[in-house]
């Protein structure tokens, strides 16, 4: 798969949106039924979420069915690499902060994030990471005084 160029596929926006709403309605609705319902006068914790899920499901169905006859549109879905690296960046930071420490976490997170930019030179990526490490340390650790170790447990001897 070409990871740099955008993926374009035909999508019927209304039907997909309707399906997403129905899926959420089913998810929330099913979980709601596990909670006590109560009555209209004495609503339990499950009453209101179930009511909302019902309305959402109905809206989702109407949106999806109304879109049935509309033609699908060609749309840029995503550059897969961009999507993955941007979404994974905060997660990576959360995972490596404790063991590696603040500075290495910022550098690695920045390197991962810049993978999303196509045709960015490695030199620019590394410079961005170093610049951000300096800037973030200055702002968050020195100026705002957030108590995070600059180097983590794995890197201290």
């Amino acid at each position: 798969m070409d990871t740099q160029n955008p993926l374009t596929i035909p999508v019927n926006k209304d039907m997909v949106a309707g399906a997403i709403f129905v899926a959420f309605a089913i998810g929330f609705g099913v979980v709601s039924t596990a909670y006590p319902m109560g009555s209209a006068a004495q609503m339990g914790p499950g009453y209101y979420p179930l009511l909302l899920s019902g309305v959402l499901g109905l809206l989702g169905l109407v949106i999806g069915l109304a879109g049935w006859r509309k033609p699908a549109q060609q749309m840029v879905v995503v550059r897969p690499l961009a999507l993955i690296s941007v979404l994974a960046a905060p997660l990576l930071f959360g995972v490596i902060l404790r063991p590696l420490g603040f500075v290495p976490a910022v550098i690695l997170t920045s390197l991962l994030a810049t993978m999303a930019a196509p045709r960015m030179s490695w030199r620019a990526r590394i410079l961005t990471a170093i610049g951000l490490a300096l800037g973030c340390t200055a702002i968050f650790i020195w100026a705002l005084g957030i108590p995070l170790p600059l180097l983590g447990t794995l890197l201290r001897f």
Binding site: Q42, P45, P49, A89, P90, A117, R119, A129, G131
Partner: protein
């Protein structure tokens, strides 16, 4: 006079050295982030929210308000200089502002925008001072049914904010309401939708939600295009408008202020609709409507004044009723709750210093912006030339660190990624995030009032139409909904949004 005592109290609060400093810092940071292409006021506030948590409540609100005006101001600078408006409210400014910049009149456009915003801000602050106390007194007499109906009205009107299908916007509201329910049930304490995760007992972390929905999903949308393109920035030469330009702008500034002040109070109104309305009004009144779109200074002065006035008066429902009229105010409500203050009509009596201090700081913030931003315009121009490749990793890291440092909880970072993905997918499918955010904020309040009202009426839903006020609010909501679905209005709305 009670009013003067209040204003005095406000000035005393706002003029402490600490609050002045944070107001200034807020204005500067707000402009700094807001000026970045593609970053609107809502995103800016969501990104900078964690910085304000360490401050005491009044200071943090004053700083957030400063960030808001700063971001709006920064947004207009970007709209005028590079034609890349961050949010719909400055899209209108870009039409004639960018044309002026291409003709070498960027300085005049920027100066008129600044002056117009300041005049509008000053007048709108007076409007806030005069109208807030009676409104919150009225709201104090609201029972659960009235509150329920008011929230319903607010949510329905927030649909007008969304561009596109009314049904999709309604579905987004309901989805937001559902996500707002995550956490312990208010009456029984039973955890709902937490999947056994203790940190979800207090609900989904609001900052993670807002950052994912606005910040991350916006980055993803921007990356769909090739971001290595460099935007062409037109450099302003002189910074002073000529006398005839000033004279042409007085009328539009005052009319824009009036229009914006009224529309800002309406739920779902705020800055965006005000600037659209002001542009249309000026074009209609002008003797040379053909100049609009070709660099008419009225097309900058009117909308810019209107959106600033609207931004200011949209604080009225937020402060007096606890009901946000737009995405930015929803974030303000979230910030108040994080500070341990229950938003609503009682804020004015229980926290008078915060209430009046915030209002006084609005005017001070506007003054600071006027004095600071024109001299600093060189810096903003430099910032605008930064390629997106360097900007987006910085935005990701700042928000990641900011969110993590508020709770030191890795789960929040997972929520950022999750809502970033959800927001991105939904935007792709023409479902806008603003109603989602509104629903998320108002979900718990709506449920509380619904359940309480139904308890008092012993399960009879007629309670919502029994009081004339509640019935009236619901009637307005119903009419608004019907009007929006009617084909004639739908086409008009489409026209306004595509113009």
């Amino acid at each position: 006079m009670e009013l003067f005592d209040n204003v005095l109290l406000g000035l005393q609060t706002a003029m402490t050295l600490q609050n002045l400093f944070y107001c200034l810092l807020g204005c500067l940071l707000g402009t700094l982030i807001g000026v970045l292409p593609g970053v609107g006021p809502t995103t800016t506030i969501a990104l900078l929210l964690p910085i304000t948590f360490g401050l005491d409540p009044s200071t943090s609100l004053i700083m957030l308000a400063g960030i808001y005006y700063g971001a709006q101001y920064g947004g207009s600078t970007t709209a005028i200089l590079v034609n890349l408006p961050g949010e719909a409210s400055s899209a209108v400014t870009a039409i004639d502002g960018y044309k002026m910049a291409q003709q070498g009149k960027a300085g005049s456009a920027l100066a008129i925008a600044a002056i117009g915003s300041f005049v509008a801000g000053t007048i709108a602050t007076v409007v806030v001072v005069v109208f807030s106390p009676p409104l919150s007194e009225l709201a104090l007499r609201f029972g659960p049914p009235e509150y329920f109906s008011l929230i319903v009205l607010g949510l329905v009107l927030s649909v007008t904010l969304a561009n596109g299908s009314v049904l999709k916007a309604l579905a987004m509201i309901i989805l937001g309401l559902l996500f707002g329910l995550v956490g312990a049930d208010i009456y029984t304490g039973i955890p709902r939708f937490t999947f056994g995760e203790p940190s979800l007992m207090d609900g989904i972390n609001f900052v993670a939600f807002a950052t994912g929905l606005y910040g991350v999903s916006e980055i993803l949308s921007n990356l769909d295009q090739d971001p290595s393109r460099k935007s062409k920035v037109s450099k302003p030469k002189g910074l002073l408008p000529t006398w005839p330009e000033m004279k042409r702008s007085i009328g539009p500034i005052l009319r824009g202020t009036g229009l914006g002040s009224v529309m800002g109070v309406l739920p779902g109104g705020g800055a965006t609709l005000s600037s659209f309305a002001a542009y249309t009004l000026e074009k209609k009144l002008s003797r040379h409507p053909e100049q609009f779109g070709e660099g008419a200074i009225e097309g900058v002065a009117g909308p810019e004044s209107a959106n600033n006035a609207g931004a200011q008066t949209s604080f009225i429902p937020m402060l007096t009723l606890g009901i946000p009229g737009n995405g930015v105010m929803a974030i303000m409500i979230g910030a108040l709750m994080i500070q341990g203050i229950q938003p609503g009509p009682s804020v004015m009596t229980t926290n008078p210093a915060l209430f009046w201090g915030l209002i006084a700081s609005m005017w001070i913030g506007n003054l600071m912006l006027l004095m600071l931003n024109l001299p600093l315009v060189g810096i903003w121009v430099k910032l605008l030339s930064t390629p997106y490749n360097f900007m987006f990793p910085a935005i990701i890291l700042f928000s990641t660190i900011g969110i993590f440092s508020t709770n030191m909880n890795g789960l929040d970072l997972g929520l950022v990624a999750m809502f970033g993905l959800l927001g991105y997918v939904l935007i792709k499918l023409d479902c806008e995030p603003a109603p989602f955010l509104m629903g998320f904020i108002l979900g718990p309040l709506l449920e509380e009032n619904l359940r309480r009202a139904m308890m008092f009426s012993r399960g009879n839903p007629a309670t919502f139409v029994a009081s004339p006020l509640s019935a009236g609010l619901l009637a307005v909501a119903a009419i608004a909904l019907i009007l929006m679905v009617l084909p004639a209005v739908r086409n008009q709305r489409k026209k306004v949004f595509t113009e």
